[in-house]
Symmetry: C2
Subunit: 363 residues, 2 copies
């Protein structure tokens, strides 16, 4: 079987150190080497999130961590604001609704970066929090988190700011404490270049103070108490924890350079696509968004009139690469190409070459 490389925005090409760790024999989670890895990963992720608060590990996909945060930070009936402009911000709204919160949902055009005014417009007095999506993978937008957080903190100092950082952690600079973000989450199968199955929840001091018991398995209040001691309430995906430690050891000492490289890759992808006449999805009123409002997690392009997604997908597949289509409202109308996974220089050059070839063939 020919090897097909993933140019999808998660799951992604695994980091070789992750693969090496995952090929090892089973380690028991109730042993000191496992506890040590667990603690090291919590510390390393806290550094990457930019928080002096707690990072908790959950054996779940990122969606499990989203629910844990909504359930742990807000009681049924409390009001939260959710600006929806893509599939993942929509998920925030769905979860908040399923858990019985009062959701002030703002439906904004998909692909449009949020503005502080749009977010504030959803926040009536008494709003307990706002659920944001930093990198909206479904549209390619990187929302201006610093501006939004500053505006929310100024106008609603008591509202908690909760951020989906699933595809911004290890891809765009993050500094939760400095920005005044109270809580965030991410998952293993994105910027950390691991398989799916492990989720991370970051809790600043205000979020920790507000934690309430929720359910059983996704109860952050309980997890915090045991994870402080290096334990986990239930059997964790310890193999992924060990793999996470191996990758963090390589990423953290040089995280800035890593982020710059990912950003440079993104600019290259857009240069190739826009150079061939493609329109980027991130835009406001038809005008392409500035590069800093496009997520390094993935480039997203509108499909040109008359070109079906399947033709683009298959042209990549014929060259040994898999890309992703649009999601939700953009399904069948866009495609996405991502170097989020492990792509050192030569492999990245190969991917750029494939992209150029595909465009030359199809356009």
């Amino acid at each position: 079987m020919n090897r097909v490389r993933l140019l999808t925005p998660g799951p992604v090409e695994l980091h070789p150190r992750a693969r090496l760790a995952l090929a090892g024999p089973q380690v028991h989670h109730r042993t000191e080497p496992a506890r040590e890895a667990f603690r090291a990963v919590r510390r390393g992720l806290a550094a990457a999130f930019g928080t002096e608060g707690e990072v908790l590990l959950l054996t779940a996909s990122g969606t499990g961590a989203m629910e844990a945060l909504v359930g742990g930070l807000f009681a049924p009936g409390e009001r939260v604001a959710v600006p929806v402009s893509g599939k993942f911000s929509e998920r925030w709204a769905e979860i908040a609704g399923a858990l019985g919160l009062e959701v002030a949902r703002g439906d904004l055009p998909w692909g449009q970066p949020l503005t502080p005014e749009e977010v504030l417009g959803l926040m009536a007095p008494g709003t307990r929090g706002v659920l944001l999506t930093h990198s909206e993978t479904s549209t390619g937008v990187l929302n201006p988190l610093a501006e939004i957080a500053a505006a929310v903190r100024a106008a609603h100092p008591d509202a908690l700011i909760v951020v989906d950082a699933v595809t911004s952690l290890f891809l765009a600079p993050l500094a939760l404490d400095a920005l005044g973000v109270d809580a965030a989450l991410a998952g293993s199968q994105k910027g950390l270049m691991l398989p799916p199955g492990l989720a991370f929840v970051a809790l600043g001091s205000r979020a920790q103070a507000r934690l309430r018991p929720y359910g059983y398995y996704l109860n952050l209040d309980r997890e915090r108490r045991v994870q402080e001691k290096g334990e986990s309430a239930f059997t964790p995906a310890i193999n992924l924890v060990l793999a996470a430690r191996a990758v963090l050891e390589e990423l953290l000492p040089d995280l800035d350079a890593h982020l710059k490289r990912k950003r440079a890759y993104l600019e290259r992808l857009y240069a190739i696509g826009e150079g061939a006449g493609l329109r980027p999805v991130p835009a406001r009123e038809g005008v392409p968004a500035p590069m800093e409002l496009r997520t390094p997690a993935t480039a997203a392009f509108h499909l040109p009139e008359g070109l079906p997604f399947e033709a683009v997908r298959d042209a990549f597949l014929a060259r040994g690469a898999r890309i992703a289509g649009g999601q939700g409202a953009l399904k069948g109308r866009s495609f996405r190409i991502s170097l989020m996974g492990h792509y050192p220089g030569p492999e990245a050059d190969w991917a750029f070459g494939v992209f150029r070839e595909v465009l030359a063939e199809l356009l």
Copy 2:
């Protein structure tokens, strides 16, 4: 670093086909090969559970699947019976309580196999279900599921029978439909010999008919609708799904022989331990339980007077093997040794030899 083999009742020594599968490159879950594996694993697990109903895969530990079942099958305020005689039956009671059910909890001696009468004694008229633990890993008991299920079905035909099969699936014969069991769950890091991180939920027809929406991430009602189509609602631990398929291909064609081997291993462990004067934990009124009421998942022995668990553990470790202590009420008072993982004949003989040496040294 010397390799320490796991003689713990989960996590366990991995199946070599699992390790091979896990060493591979990342596969995207929204592709046909991944969907095919997903479907094959659901079918294979249904055969192992002995049900023509549905098996759903959740990215979670077994505890997540327990919560999904309690939340999906019972509404807050409904009454369920939970006979508690070990750490995992206690967990059923905790989950049911956390989710607002009315729990008829029976506290029975740990290590004592349940009787149908003990279970029926907890079931007042109107009881909506009973939460059972088939193999109580914390004590080494295999509860007589057939007798209990028959008695419950006869006396309370409308009550749902929900079973924790975490350490009985692939270790003891299971036949949910034939026994009249409505729902069950298990996890990847036990009899299937995979790493932790994937849970399985089996739903017979009555359980399917009663499913109600619950929460968001652990919502079986939603998972059933998408998994019927070979999809999953959220990014699954697809690497574990692929590994599960590889192991199932080897286990399923000869499952009876596999179960007999595990049962023979257990008898050998008890023969060695009891031959040296150790008392098995599974017992009723001081009389050791018959072999068929001891779980093949693990042998469990009381520690002899004056012998600390640490001495036993360290004697095994010095020989390259890790065993487990007692849990909950049995902590510091018992130890457990398990061949649940991948132990072909020669490796099993090595484990028996180590056990004999340890006992010769310490007793």
